[in-house]
Point group: C2
Chain length 270, copies 2
């Protein structure tokens, strides 16, 4: 998807919400388990319920991989069901030597037709570049994540700057802002402000609003730019808002609440 299309959708829907499709058989409403493909059936109803209020869907691939080949079938069906104008993110955190990253790129961009994939930077340039050979496809590089382990290596300072800053600066040299986003955790808004100054033009995928404890107002003030520039993800807070038959309506409500808040921040901070 072109950057312009993503930006237009943010303006049209007055939302920068990404819904995380972290679909877990142990957590979906029990009555769905009798369906032939409960994971897809759940996702379908979540998509129907939330598509008006979000601009992106992000299945975390681990949830599908854990189900074996059937999980990949559910993932494929889900991807095909997502309306074309909505941005899709394979949250896969892949990264390998060049030849192998090329295969991952083919898996997610050709075999499946995701718009983007999350990528781990540890193996460096040749692990990242193969994903950029696909026109209008994006990489979303892990920069500063929101989990406790982010403190182990991402903040180690070298030449006066933390590792995540080196990652951001190098990646900006490898790809331009219409193919490159960063994962930036929402647990500290001052961090987002700092990273926005390093990468003024790039979209940030921000997990951690909701279950991981980020604050949407602070994140939005620190991170929004003229294009929008943020995709704020919520997974559990939306998709598991109810474990009963009303899960679709409840998810819709939670998504709309977030969209309404985002509408306000788009007016205030852009």
């Amino acid at each position: 998807m072109e950057k312009q299309k993503l930006t237009e959708q943010i303006q049209k829907k007055k939302s920068y919400l990404c819904v995380g499709l972290d679909t877990d058989l142990h957590k979906i409403p029990k009555h769905l388990l009798k369906e032939k493909d409960p994971v897809f059936e759940f996702n379908k109803q979540i998509i129907d319920a939330t598509a008006d209020f979000c601009v992106a869907y992000k299945p975390n691939i681990a949830f599908y991989e854990a189900l074996g080949p059937a999980g990949w079938e559910s993932l494929n069906k889900t991807l095909e069901y997502i309306p074309e104008e909505i941005f899709t993110i394979a949250d896969a955190k892949r990264g390998d030597i060049g030849n192998t990253s090329k295969l991952y790129a083919r898996a997610f961009f050709e075999k499946m037709t995701f718009d983007s994939i999350t990528v781990a930077p540890y193996m460096g340039k040749d692990s990242v570049m193969p994903f950029l050979e696909f026109e209008n496809k994006w990489i979303i590089v892990l920069a500063h994540t929101s989990n406790p382990g982010a403190q182990d290596f991402q903040v180690l300072e070298s030449d006066g700057k933390p590792l995540y800053e080196s990652v951001i600066k190098k990646c900006i040299g490898w790809a331009n802002a219409d193919q490159l986003m960063f994962v930036v955790g929402a647990t500290r808004a001052d961090k987002i402000k700092e990273i926005r100054s390093l990468a003024p033009d790039n979209f940030f995928l921000v997990p951690g609003v909701g279950a991981q404890g980020g604050d949407l107002k602070a994140v939005s003030e620190a991170g929004l730019n003229a294009d929008g520039g943020l995709l704020v993800n919520s997974s559990r807070g939306i998709i598991y808002a109810s474990s009963e038959r009303d899960f679709g309506n409840m998810a819709r409500q939670k998504a709309e609440d977030l969209q309404q808040e985002m509408d306000k921040y788009l007016n205030e901070y852009v």
Copy 2:
């Protein structure tokens, strides 16, 4: 698999060879393409041909993922076909927040029954720990890889030590040597010597001998320890030794050549 079993196998076979099952439909002998599952058929014949000379098999998961659900079926069948005494490595380079890494662990250790998985360290402790909850299952953490991009971040110095050294030291604090290996590239044997002094007891998975240009003698001298302590991988050099009907025999020959060389180094350096 217990460490002792792996070590016994190294002693019995006089080999620390790992065969990389990076099976690519574009590279396998043409006559196999008429088989129902050409990937499995190729792997089966490679395993039959090389099992006497290697102690581990390492499918790189990208090659299977690139084929969609059918690729996962081929991978499963391959895994089941590998003789039980041979160590199996899911070369997947996974890593995510704790909850999600747990799902990857289940995918590779329960749904499939790999002995080990390669793990990317960028997200830190909680991305690594869930894999350690499975008894006699191993993680193989990317430390210093053999690709050009290894120079981008892995060597950045913080407090006088490169990132890969911080990774090794922290990981050794999280897991002991009967569940923790490191990926150490073979392109420079002096690096292996340095890393062996940081991690005297851990096994190293060494890719890069063969196609990526490492030197088996130098690697062995620098890396072998009392348990063996090395798994040296060769993929293309063995499995694509021939693209004709004799590919099994040719693979067997290449594997035996490496095993013979390893036998010598085990006598010389252990």
